[in-house]
């Protein structure tokens, strides 16, 4: 059997969304020579081009932009640099050959290649959880779509997906889609949220639901879909403290569209296939303060690393991953160290990065388990305490640690009290 044509590169970026674009651009700006970016879609930008609503880039550029505008900005930046871009390029397999060589087999309409890369930034994004993963039973007719799919349907393909909708899940995507549907004349009968608090940013609750009088049903669950060819109704119920449906509260809401917005899952199959360690808490890879996975020279960024609430977080992760890749190439890797695993204490779901050594100042990304007011973020080993006015699971908490602080700590625990 013949082997694949192989191309040697310094940095291979997998994924052309905000994290991948930022990584490719930053690496090229730093002077990394052969930078290649591969993406499955026909156009770059990841999901940004299907986001015609504003709310992007303010923290970074001081200007509120639509997803399309931000995508254009990022694409322009990459286009002006020496980055080799392959669109419609599907990475079939990734492999770890050696410390200085990772491979990716890629299928494109122009043929199949193998890239042999010194470093990889893995920024393949996330996928949406489906109605099956949300435990919704019943029939399986047309008219059950994920929120991202509805967005793409309306704003890329120009399809009106229904006339009367129920949205399952009140994360940002669900809220924004509820508004988008309303603007198009679709009656959104309810946004149904399992938890007693909304899943998305407060500004989106106000701007997407309250401004349009869309009912938000907290502590409710979509149980089942009814309808043969097309959705005819959904069954919704209240839940008790254990999030179990209370049978006596089941009601039927007639509609022809059920939008599933019940969260994202990092796409890590290729990474896991290459042997990277996955953190069950984030669903993404375990990384150190260089955003390096357990495969040396393979870095992760964006939603493939951890589900982010702000695009700026994804972009800064991409840039940090690129800087790390640059250092890896220049220095032939990182020095050995005694890595400290950050232990997640009470009140928190996860922390990223999971491993710290104190080579550099590090920004931690954390998510609270439940909303609360006037709390403190505590690292007992560093006697560090940060007051937080309010925390909500929807909003990522960030915290920067000084390298010297990390260096002097024996162990590290982080919790919310």
């Amino acid at each position: 059997m013949r082997t694949l044509p192989t191309r040697r590169v310094d940095l291979l970026v997998v994924g052309g969304g905000p994290a991948g674009l930022a990584a490719a651009a930053r690496a090229s700006e730093l002077g990394v020579r052969r930078v290649v970016l591969v993406d499955e879609r026909r156009w770059l930008g990841g999901i940004l081009p299907q986001c015609i609503h504003p709310g992007f880039g303010f923290h970074r550029y001081g200007r509120d932009m639509t997803g399309c505008e931000l995508a254009e900005k990022l694409i322009d930046r990459v286009s002006s640099l020496d980055v080799d871009v392959y669109t419609e390029a599907h990475t079939v397999r990734m492999g770890y050959e050696s410390y200085l060589s990772k491979t990716a087999e890629v299928l494109t309409p122009r043929g199949a290649f193998r890239f042999r890369a010194k470093t990889v930034v893995y920024a393949a994004g996330a996928r949406e959880r489906t109605c099956f993963e949300a435990g919704i039973v019943g029939s399986r007719p047309a008219g059950v779509y994920t929120a991202g799919e509805v967005q793409e349907m309306m704003d890329v393909w120009g399809i009106l997906p229904g006339r009367e909708a129920v949205v399952a899940g009140s994360g940002d995507v669900g809220l924004i889609v509820a508004r988008r549907l309303t603007l198009e004349g679709v009656k959104v009968k309810a946004v149904v949220e399992l938890m007693p608090y909304p899943g998305g940013l407060l500004r989106n609750v106000v701007q997407c639901l309250e401004d349009y009088q869309i009912p938000l049903l907290l502590s409710h669950v979509v149980l089942a879909v009814e309808g043969s060819k097309r959705v005819e109704s959904v069954l919704v119920a209240e839940v008790d403290e254990n999030l179990r449906a209370r049978e006596e509260t089941v009601k039927r809401i007639p509609c022809d569209l059920l939008v599933i917005a019940v969260g994202l899952i990092p796409r890590v199959e290729l990474l896991a296939g290459a042997g990277a360690m996955i953190d069950p808490k984030t669903g993404g890879p375990v990384v150190n303060e260089f955003l390096e996975t357990s495969l040396p020279g393979v870095f992760a960024a964006g939603n493939a690393l951890v589900i982010n609430d702000l695009v700026e977080h994804a972009m800064e992760q991409g840039e940090l991953a690129a800087e790390s890749a640059y250092r890896f190439i220049e220095d032939g890797g990182f020095r050995s160290a005694s890595w400290k695993r950050v232990r997640v204490g009470d009140g928190l779901r996860f922390v990223v990065p999971q491993l710290l050594a104190g080579f550099r100042d590090v920004k931690l990304y954390l998510r609270a388990s439940s909303p609360s007011e006037n709390t403190r973020l505590l690292i007992p080993e560093l006697e560090k305490s940060v007051r937080l006015r309010s925390v909500r699971p929807a909003e990522m908490i960030t915290l920067t640690l000084k390298a010297e602080d990390v260096l002097k700590a024996e162990r590290l625990t982080i919790k919310l009290v």
């Binding site: 082997t3 309409p109 047309a142 349907m153 890329v156 399809i159």
Partner: protein, 492 residues
């Protein structure tokens, strides 16, 4: 009289019969199907198991007992001729109690009587040596090496393609409204697309066979739907058994099975819930049903993957005939009315044998056509890019770049495969899915559904919103998003 046979129902049984009849000279075969595609009734949603044939009591259910064993053997040839991927993996019926062990011995005796080859009872250690994931409770198992699994919808599509190549007409979205009988003989069927005259009418209408029979004045049986629910796990989730794992059967059902599908997904199910006779479209899943399946499957293996690894749940209806046995017959009254009905399990295994039996019975009743000189036994499957070696890819992609354009990321299905499926007859998103697996992966189509719809829209020359998931009434959307360019096609 026309020399035409109308087969009612394009399921695995109807199409097997059509395939066999298509080998005859001078006989026109027309298959009518109410759904938008073939195999969308009972054929679509089942375990996909080609049972080896020890289950059925030859005294109580002679047709089931005889035709399953024969059908199993025929599938080895048919699957090869039709390029249907099969895994002849064999099956284990697991015994966990003394009572179960007695059942195994009964099955063994029955298997011997039915003519099933190579059956053997294994002790617990032998079982776990073969399948390390089997529960420690298991004390014995009946090992049946001739059982296999295939994808039932791929099989149905393969049969349909082979039928068409041999001149069979398949009319989809065609509902039979009546069977015309005159002077004690059938004359044809009234359909939603008009009357189709025929000398023979073969009733292979699955769940609706009793209703078709009544239209012909035959009312000696009823069909009730028996629902079975299933859970499918991510391809990466395991451990997966190499062989089909059955529990010891009960009088109602073969029980909840743990198996690895031909595509490589762990799958568990089904339960068995008898529905009212008119509930023939109620293929919904229930919390209780799925919980039951989970509990029963957990008894067979040491550990199932986490619930988070479940990527899809579905249910299917099996047609349960009132007498229990398959109804395979040519009636004297009305003359020309042929039945292959009540195809409950092991209907999939039996299908080819049922088809040959129908031919034999029709011949006894006056069908006197000889065999065609030129009949195509073989059917070529479409390209599966992810199954090709890189050297084959190097030849294929430059010739047709659409085979290098992956549209379904989870299953690695390319645009070329989708276009091929459409050219072979897929008109809907589900039609593409069942032919190519696009949309069957972990994201369940959220990434690819629209791109598949766009290809369908292009190939069929229709606006994208009007592309259906599963036929008329299941359009993707309700129209175009408001447009300033009224009347312009914004879908393109």
């Amino acid at each position: 009289m026309l020399d035409r046979v109308v087969v009612v129902g394009a399921g695995v049984v109807g199409l097997s019969i059509a395939r066999v009849l298509s080998a005859l000279e001078g006989l026109e075969v027309v298959v009518v199907e109410k759904e938008a595609d073939v195999g969308w009734g009972a054929s679509k949603a089942n375990t996909g198991i080609i049972h080896s044939g020890y289950d059925d009591d030859p005294v109580k259910y002679p047709n089931r007992a005889r035709l399953a064993v024969k059908g199993n053997r025929l599938w080895t040839t048919w699957a090869e001729q039709l390029s249907i991927p099969v895994d002849w993996c064999g099956s284990l019926v697991l015994a966990r109690s003394l009572e179960d062990r007695r059942v195994l011995r009964k099955l063994l005796a029955r298997g011997i009587r039915n003519g099933v080859p190579a059956l053997r009872i294994l002790d617990g250690e032998e079982v776990r040596a073969l399948e390390p994931m089997v529960s420690e409770d298991v004390v014995e198992a009946l090992w049946s090496p001739t059982a296999g699994v295939l994808s039932p919808y791929e099989a149905t599509v393969a049969l349909a393609e082979n039928c068409v190549e041999n001149g069979v007409k398949i009319l989809t979205e065609t509902l039979v409204k009546g069977v015309r009988v005159k002077g004690g003989s059938v004359e044809g069927v009234e359909t939603s697309r008009g009357f189709i005259g025929a000398r023979w009418v073969v009733n292979a209408a699955g769940l609706y066979a009793d209703e078709i029979a009544r239209m012909a004045g035959v009312s000696d049986y009823t069909i009730t739907p028996r629902r079975g629910e299933y859970l499918v796990f991510d391809k990466d989730a395991g451990p997966k058994p190499s062989r089909i794992l059955f529990p010891s059967p009960t009088p109602v059902s073969k029980g909840v099975v743990v198996e690895t599908t031909v595509a490589g997904n762990l799958m568990i199910g089904p339960n068995a819930v008898d529905l009212p006779r008119d509930a023939k479209e109620e293929t919904y899943t229930t919390k209780e049903g799925l919980a039951y399946v989970w509990r029963e499957a957990s008894k067979l293996v040491k550990k199932l993957p986490g619930k988070r690894e479940v990527i899809r749940v579905f249910s299917g209806l099996r047609p349960q005939p009132s007498g229990g046995d398959f109804i395979v017959r040519v009636l004297e009254e009305p003359e020309g009315f042929v039945e292959a009905a009540g195809m409950r399990s092991p209907g999939l295994a039996a299908a080819p044998a049922v088809a040959l039996e129908i031919l034999r019975l029709m011949r006894l009743n006056g069908l006197d056509h000889g065999f065609k000189k030129r009949w195509k036994a073989e059917r070529r499957a479409g390209l599966r890019i992810m199954g090709l070696g890189w050297d084959m890819l190097e030849k294929t992609v430059p010739r047709n770049p659409s085979y290098g354009r992956v549209v379904c990321w989870c299953e690695g299905v390319t645009e070329g495969e989708v276009v091929d499926a459409i050219r072979r007859g897929a008109k809907t998103i589900d039609g593409v899915k069942f032919r190519t697996r696009a949309g069957m992966g972990r994201c369940q189509g959220a990434f690819c559904r629209l791109r598949i719809a766009a290809i369908l829209a292009r190939e069929l020359g229709k606006p994208i919103w009007s592309i259906t998931v599963k036929g008329t009434g299941s359009e993707l959307g309700v129209g175009d998003v408001k447009s300033l360019l009224e009347g312009e096609d914004v879908a393109d």
